[in-house]
Symmetry: C2
Subunit: 211 residues, 2 copies
């Protein structure tokens, strides 16, 4: 099967392509180096203009290491389809992926409210307007970090195509093509202590409709 790096023409160089990939996903993989070894963790994130916001608990040791300025790479991948070729070798996947490289910075506590609102609204659009503001205690327990998007600090690759056409089609009755994949939301499940007749908020309705 074709590995993602194989076709250099899959690379995209427009900043708008990067933003589109980052804005389409909610979770990515943060990688850094700890004692010379690769260290990875999946994280929820949001794009805030020219930076990627990430956050976690102030208690997480390795996160603190990353936050202290260690070099980081953040990878986001969306699997868009299974590419079924007439050979195993040409079978592949359609995908969008982005890697942002740089050094993480800790977000100033004065900016943490903005970061938490934006992170929440990225996951659940409009949610920050429906709930109370975050408390000082909550903000203090949140380690908000930012990874700057610099002109040379990112890579985007996209495959969005049928399988490679074989030079010789051995069997004209054979099938080749793409099975598209997408993420859909199911019916919202109320928490155990929520009344059955509680009104589902607009943000949740939008979430279900939007996926």
């Amino acid at each position: 099967m074709n590995q993602i790096r194989r076709q250099p023409d899959r690379a995209r160089s427009d900043r708008a392509d990067l933003d589109a990939v980052l804005d389409a996903a909610a979770v990515g993989t943060l990688a850094t180096v700890v004692d010379g070894q690769p260290w990875v963790v999946p994280m929820l994130y949001a794009r805030d203009g020219d930076r990627v916001l990430l956050h976690g608990s102030t208690g997480a040791g390795a996160l603190r290491h990353v936050a202290a300025g260690a070099p980081a790479a953040f990878c986001v991948t969306l699997l868009d389809g299974i590419v079924v070729a007439d050979t195993l070798f040409d079978s592949s996947a359609n995908y969008r992926s982005a890697v942002v490289r740089g050094n993480l910075t800790v977000i100033d506590p004065a900016d943490a409210t903005h970061a938490l609102n934006l992170m929440s609204d990225s996951l659940i659009p409009g949610r920050s307007a429906e709930v109370r503001a975050s408390t000082k205690k909550e903000l203090a327990a949140t380690l908000a970090m930012a990874l700057p998007i610099t002109p040379d600090g990112w890579t985007v690759k996209v495959r969005d195509a049928p399988p490679a056409q074989p030079e010789q089609i051995a069997d004209s009755s054979g099938w080749a093509g793409v099975v598209p994949l997408r993420t859909v939301a199911g019916e919202p499940i109320p928490a155990p202590w929520i009344d059955a007749d509680a009104i589902v908020p607009e943000s949740v309705h939008r979430l279900v409709k939007g996926t």
Copy 2:
């Protein structure tokens, strides 16, 4: 929002939990260290017993670096739901994630046919039985790698729960809960050179039904 590492009780220690997460996804993020910097790439993979199979083109320079025995970490994440709490701080995500750490080895060319068949059948179950065997030329152009799964070399974390229940429920009319997410396959799209009446193979039918 709760970052994934925050609750230590989310960790799972049964090897069956690891296998379940690895077998449920098709793409992960491979991380290694190049010149002291973190280096990441999304890759298709398959689990083959006690190892994770990965492969790419023999032409990819950084992959060659990884294949030469550099330490690697491979991260797989499935986003299963959006956790909508009554505060931004407690909003989160339900997910399954696995990290496998170790040193990659290059798969012996004699074993490459098995690896390519297994990788293909992991992505498209049953496909290897429908198409011709891979040629020597195809196998030579494939860099198949394995990451061993060792007893101490992996971590699994799972969140599969409603939002944290607030100590005080300020507004009983408020809603909190989970919006479940899942990946579904759409109608198969034939490649441009495929006759409209070509028979869609069983493997593709299974793929569409199985997701």
